[in-house]
C-alpha cells in the first residue's frame, strides 16, 4: 500500500522538518540560556540588592540628645526617663484575657484597653511592640517587676522627656525642643545616610528637634545620629529576626558658658519685670548670664503643652515668648555717652580739659530748636569726666553737633551697634544704627543736624539689643578689644573686635573708667545710690530711655499715668575695677530710672559673680 518511493519522500520531509525543529528549539535553548545569563550573571548585583532589599527592613533607632551643662558642670537640660509597659502582641494569643491578667498587677483603664484592642491585630501581624500603659508610677513598676516572670511577653521600657530642672530660668537662651516636621526630618536623616521610616523612639514625643535657643543653634551636635536595627522580613512585612544592630550615637553633651547661680540671681532680681540681663566674661567674650524676662516653662513646651495654655502664653501682654535679650530693641540713651566721649577724643574735637557751659539745654543753631537735659538749670561749666558722671546731655549734644556724622556712625558701628556680635545666639537682632542713607531709604527724609544731636545722647533712631549693650560694655571695660560673644565655653578662634582708635591712649581709657566709676562713687554720680550695695568698685553708666519726647517734667507726670509709656531703665557696668572681669547690661522696661532701678539688679548679679 505504501511504496518505496512514498516512503523515501516521507522520510525526507520528516528529516527536513526535524532539522527545522532542531534549529528552532536550539535557538530557544540558547535564547533562554542567554536570558538566564543576563539575569543571573550580568545583572546579578542589581537583583541581589533587590533581593536583600526585599527581605530586610531597617528600623531607625533614635539617639538621645546631648545634656546641656553650665560652666560649673551643673546640668541645665537633661533627659528624664519615664517608664512604659510594652507588650509583644505576636506572642500573645488571647489579648482580652491577657489584659485581665495584667490588670491584676497594673490598673489598665478603659481608654488604654480600647487602644490596645484596636491596635493588637495589626501589631501582632507585623510583629511590632505595643505600649499598653505610659508613664508608670514607681509603685506600678515595682508591682510589675516582682511578677514579671508571669508575663514574659511584656516588659517595661524607658522613654525620655527633655527636661530642665530650671524651666523658667533659661527659657530663651536654652530654648525648647519640639516635633520635627517630616521634611526637616528627612533632610536630617539624609545627612546621616538614612531614610525616613519606622523608628524606635527614645523620646515619648517622637522626633525632636531644637526649635529655639541653644537647642536650635547647636541642634547638629546635640541631636546625635540615628542607629538602625535591621530585621529580616517576609513578604507581608512581618519581622522575623534581627540581623544587625547599628547603635545610635547619642548627641554630644554641651558645656555652655552660662552660670546657674548668676542666672538665678538675675531672675530673682528681675522678679518677672519686663526686661533683660546679659553678663559677659570679658576675658573670653563668653555670655555668663542671659535672661529675658518674663519667661515661660521650656519643659511644658518641649513635652507637649495643651493648646489652651499655649494660647495663654501667646496672648500674654508681657510677651513671655519674646526674647528681649536678643530681639528687644532699646535706645541706649545715656549709656552711649562714653562712646561719644571717645569719639570726641579720637577726632580731636575735645580733650579732657575741654569744657562747655551747660545751661540745662542745647539750642540747635540751624533752627533754634531746644534740646533739654535731665537737670533743670544744667550742670554749669563741665568737662568730659563730669559730663559722664553727671550725665550732662548738653555736653554730648554739643559734641555730636560738632561731629562728622559719617565718622560718628562708623565709630558706633565699631562698638557693635547695628550689627551682630554674637556668634551663636539664636536669631540675634542687630538693633538699628541709623545713617543718612538709612533715613533717606526708609523715612524718605534727609539727615538733619538734629538727628546727630539726638544720636549724641543715644536717643532718636538708634536702638540696640541688651546683648549688644553687654558687648559694648565689655568693649569699654577691655579698652577697645573684645572677642565676639558666644554661649559655649570653648571659644578658641573666635574673632576679636578691636576699635581702630589711634589717638586714644591707655591713659584716656583709664580716665573713661574712672569717670564711669564716678557714676557710682562720686556724690554727683547718677547711680550714687548703688555705692553701698557692694564692696568693690564698679564702672557703670546709667540710661533712661524716653519713650515720649517731652519738653517738661510736668508733661511727663501726665504721660507716666500710662505704665507702658514710662521710660525704660538701662544700666551698663563692668567690675571689679580696676581689673574688670565681667561686663553687664540691664534693661528694665518702663522702670523709669536707669541708676536706681536697673542699677541694683546689675549690682546683685555682679555681687554673685564677684565673691572676694
Amino acid at each position: 500500500m505504501i511504496d518505496i518511493e512514498d516512503r523515501f519522500i516521507e522520510k525526507r520531509i520528516f528529516k527536513n522538518r526535524l532539522i527545522l525543529i532542531y534549529l528552532f528549539f536550539g535557538f530557544l535553548f540558547s535564547a533562554f540560556i542567554y536570558r538566564t545569563y543576563t539575569l543571573q550573571v550580568y545583572s546579578y548585583s542589581s537583583y541581589e540588592s533587590a533581593s536583600i532589599k526585599n527581605k530586610t527592613r531597617s528600623i531607625l533607632v533614635q539617639p538621645k540628645r546631648g545634656i546641656v551643662y553650665d560652666r560649673n558642670g551643673n546640668i541645665l537640660i537633661n533627659n528624664v526617663p519615664s517608664y512604659d509597659l510594652i507588650i509583644q502582641p505576636s506572642k500573645i494569643d488571647n489579648i482580652s484575657k491577657y489584659l485581665e491578667r495584667l490588670n491584676n498587677v497594673i490598673l489598665i483603664d478603659q481608654d488604654e484597653r480600647d487602644y490596645v484592642l484596636e491596635q493588637f491585630d495589626n501589631k501582632s501581624t507585623y510583629n511590632r511592640e505595643l505600649a499598653v500603659k505610659r508613664a508608670l508610677s514607681e509603685e506600678e513598676i515595682a508591682r510589675f517587676e516582682v511578677r514579671n516572670y508571669l508575663f514574659p511577653e511584656a516588659l517595661i521600657d524607658k522613654r525620655y522627656r527633655r527636661e530642665s530642672e530650671y524651666p523658667y530660668l533659661f527659657s530663651h537662651v536654652l530654648g525648647f525642643v519640639g516635633a520635627a516636621e517630616n521634611e526637616t526630618m528627612s533632610e536630617i536623616l539624609t545627612t546621616q545616610d538614612k531614610f525616613p521610616g519606622e523608628t524606635l523612639f527614645k523620646y515619648a514625643n517622637g522626633y525632636l528637634i531644637g526649635k529655639t535657643g541653644i537647642e536650635n543653634t547647636y541642634d547638629n551636635s546635640l541631636r546625635g545620629s540615628f542607629g538602625e536595627k535591621i530585621f529580616e522580613v517576609d513578604a507581608r512585612g512581618k519581622l522575623l529576626k534581627q540581623i544587625d544592630f547599628i547603635e545610635p550615637t547619642d548627641g554630644l553633651d554641651m558645656f555652655t558658658s552660662l552660670d546657674l547661680e548668676a542666672q538665678k540671681v538675675a531672675f530673682e532680681a528681675m522678679n518677672g519685670r519686663k526686661g533683660a540681663v546679659v553678663v559677659v566674661e570679658i576675658e573670653t567674650g563668653s555670655i555668663i548670664t542671659y535672661l529675658s524676662s518674663p519667661s515661660f516653662s521650656i519643659n511644658q513646651i518641649s513635652n507637649g503643652i495643651s493648646s489652651v495654655n499655649f494660647e495663654k502664653l501667646i496672648e500674654d501682654k508681657a510677651k513671655p515668648f519674646f526674647d528681649r535679650a536678643s530681639q528687644g530693641r532699646y535706645s541706649p540713651a545715656s549709656t552711649i555717652k562714653p562712646a561719644i566721649g571717645l569719639y570726641g577724643l579720637q577726632s580731636g574735637i575735645i580733650n579732657w580739659d575741654y569744657t562747655i557751659d551747660d545751661p540745662g539745654f542745647f539750642v540747635l543753631p540751624e533752627d533754634q530748636r531746644i534740646y533739654r537735659g535731665w537737670k533743670k538749670g544744667g550742670h554749669g561749666n563741665i568737662n568730659l569726666e563730669n559730663a559722664l558722671i553727671e550725665s550732662s546731655n548738653t555736653f554730648f549734644f554739643s559734641l555730636a553737633y560738632q561731629s562728622e556724622i559719617k565718622d560718628l556712625i562708623d565709630h558706633l558701628s565699631n562698638f557693635g551697634f547695628g550689627r551682630n556680635i554674637c556668634v551663636d545666639c539664636f536669631n540675634p537682632g542687630k538693633g538699628l544704627l541709623p545713617s543718612p542713607e538709612w533715613k533717606m531709604n526708609n523715612l524718605n527724609f534727609g539727615w538733619f543736624k538734629g538727628d546727630s544731636v539726638n544720636l549724641g545722647v543715644g536717643q532718636g533712631y538708634l536702638s540696640a539689643t541688651p546683648v549688644q549693650l553687654a558687648f559694648y560694655s565689655g568693649l569699654l571695660s577691655k579698652k577697645g578689644s573684645l572677642k565676639k560673644l558666644s554661649l559655649i565655653n570653648d571659644n578658641v578662634g573666635k574673632e576679636t573686635i578691636v576699635l581702630p582708635m589711634t589717638n586714644i591712649t591707655s591713659k584716656d581709657w583709664d580716665k573713661i573708667h574712672e569717670s564711669m566709676i564716678g557714676v557710682i562713687e562720686n556724690p554727683k554720680g547718677t547711680a550714687k545710690r548703688l555705692k553701698n550695695l557692694k564692696s568693690y568698685n564698679i564702672a557703670a553708666k546709667s540710661g533712661t530711655v524716653e519713650l515720649v519726647s517731652l519738653d517738661s517734667k510736668e508733661d511727663y507726670e501726665l504721660v507716666r499715668q500710662d505704665i507702658l509709656k514710662r521710660d525704660h531703665a538701662i544700666m551698663i557696668a563692668f567690675a571689679p575695677m580696676p581689673n574688670p572681669k565681667y561686663a553687664i547690661s540691664v534693661v528694665i522696661e518702663n522702670a523709669e530710672s536707669g541708676g536706681s532701678v536697673a542699677g541694683p539688679v546689675a549690682v546683685k548679679v555682679l555681687n554673685s559673680l564677684i565673691k572676694e
Binding site: L18, E48, K55
Partner: protein, 365 residues
C-alpha cells in the same frame, strides 16, 4: 520456539530516557522539599506520584505501538467525553472546571487529550498520502478545533493551546505545506485585534500587558514576574544554597511548588544549577528527536515527534513565563512541578515514546 519464548520476556526499554527522567524526578523531589519550605507531606505525596509515574512509564513502554494505533480513536473519544463530563459535573475551582474527582485522585482530563490527540492524528495520517493534502489538513484541523474549543470551555486557555500545538506539530511533521503555514500566520496576525477583544478575559489581557512591562504595575499583576526575576537574578552564578533562597522562603515568590519552581531552583543553585538542569532537559529532547528519526514507521515517527515537542513546548513556556518573557499562564515545569495529572501525563507520554522507539519491526521489503 525458543526464540519466541525469549521474545516474550523481552523488556522494552530505553536506558537513556529512563535514567534522565528518573534523575529529573528525583532532583525534582529535592527542589520541591525546599520550595514547599520543608513540607514533608507535599514531598511524600509527590514521591508517590513519581514512583507511580515511573512504573506507568515502564508498563506503557511494553505494548507494541500498533496497539496504540488501533486504540488511538478510543483514547481520544474517551478523553474528550471525560472533558465533557468535567464541564458538566465538576465543581468550580477558581472559576474553572478542570478536575474530575475520582476519590483517591483528581483527574484533569484535558491532560489526557494532550496525549490522545497527537496519537490519533498520527494514526489518522498513517494511511494518508504524504505530504498531507489540503483535504486532510482541514479534516485534521477540524479535530484539533473540537479539542481546543472543548478544553477552552472549561476554561483552560493554557492547556487548550498546548493541545492544539500538539495537533499542529503532527501536521507539521506530516508535511503541512509552507503556503498553508504562511497564510495561516497572516490570517492570525490580521485577526489578532479581533481575538484580543473577543476571546480574552480582561485578566488575561492584563497578564499579557504586564509581561511586556512588569514595572508598570509592580504590586499588582507585575508582582509575580518582578519577584520571580529577582529570585532568579539574585541566585547569581552558584546560587544561595539549598533551602537558603530568601525569595521563596520569605514568601516573596508566588506558586513556588508549581509554576514558579524554576525560580526557586535558579535562586538556590544559580546559573550553574540552571545549566545542569537545562542540559538534562535538552538531552531528553534530543534523544527523542533521535528516536523519532530512527523510528520504525510513520506512525511512530509522528507520535514521538509530536509528544516530545509537547514536552519541549511545555518546558519553554514555563521557562519563558518564569523569566518574564511571556505572560503568566499556568504551565508546569515537566517532571519537577508539584502536580498529579500533568505530571503523570508526561510519564504516560514517555512510556508511549519508549514503546515506539524500542519495538523494531523487521521490515518486509
Amino acid at each position: 520456539m525458543k526464540q519466541a519464548s525469549f521474545k516474550r520476556f523481552t523488556i522494552f526499554f530505553d536506558q537513556y530516557l529512563f535514567i534522565a527522567i528518573t534523575l529529573l524526578s528525583v532532583m525534582g523531589l529535592f527542589f520541591l522539599y525546599s520550595a514547599s519550605q520543608g513540607n514533608i507531606n507535599v514531598v511524600m505525596k509527590q514521591s508517590i506520584f513519581v514512583g507511580f509515574g515511573i512504573f506507568l512509564m515502564f508498563i506503557l513502554s511494553q505494548p507494541d505501538p500498533d496497539i496504540y494505533k488501533i486504540l488511538s480513536r478510543v483514547f481520544l473519544i474517551t478523553s474528550l467525553i471525560l472533558v465533557l463530563i468535567t464541564i458538566l459535573v465538576a465543581k468550580e475551582i477558581n472559576g474553572a472546571k478542570r478536575w474530575l474527582d475520582l476519590g483517591v485522585f483528581t483527574l484533569q482530563p484535558s491532560e489526557l487529550v494532550k496525549i490522545a490527540l497527537p496519537i490519533y492524528l498520527a494514526a489518522y495520517l498513517f494511511e494518508k498520502p504524504i505530504p498531507i493534502d489540503l483535504k486532510n489538513t482541514f479534516k485534521s484541523l477540524l479535530i484539533i478545533a473540537v479539542c481546543f474549543l472543548l478544553i477552552a470551555r472549561q476554561p483552560d486557555l493554557g492547556t487548550s493551546l498546548v493541545v492544539s500545538m500538539a495537533g499542529v506539530y503532527i501536521l507539521f511533521f506530516a508535511g503541512l505545506s509552507w503556503k498553508f503555514i504562511g497564510s495561516s500566520i497572516i490570517v492570525f496576525l490580521i485577526s489578532l485585534p479581533f481575538l484580543w477583544n473577543n476571546f480574552l478575559q480582561p485578566f488575561q489581557q492584563q497578564r499579557i500587558l504586564t509581561s511586556l512591562d512588569p514595572s508598570a504595575d509592580p504590586f499588582g499583576s507585575g508582582w509575580n514576574i518582578t519577584q520571580s526575576k529577582i529570585a532568579i537574578g539574585s541566585g547569581g552564578i552558584s546560587g544561595k544554597g539549598f533551602e537558603a533562597g530568601s525569595q521563596s522562603h520569605l514568601d516573596f515568590l508566588p506558586e513556588t511548588e508549581t509554576d514558579f519552581i524554576f525560580a526557586v531552583i535558579a535562586e538556590e543553585f544559580g546559573f550553574i544549577g540552571v545549566c545542569i538542569l537545562l542540559s538534562i532537559y535538552m538531552f531528553i529532547f534530543l534523544r527523542c528527536m533521535y528516536l523519532a528519526f530512527n523510528a520504525r514507521d510513520r506512525f511512530c515517527r509522528l507520535t514521538i515527534g509530536g509528544l516530545s515537542l509537547i514536552f519541549a513546548s511545555t518546558l519553554f513556556i514555563n521557562l519563558a513565563m518564569v523569566t518574564g518573557l511571556i505572560p503568566v499562564v499556568g504551565m508546569p515545569l515537566p517532571f519537577i512541578s508539584k502536580g498529579g495529572s500533568s505530571l503523570l501525563s508526561f510519564y504516560i507520554a514517555f512510556g508511549i515514546i519508549i514503546s515506539m522507539a524500542s519495538h523494531k519491526k523487521l521490515m518486509q521489503r
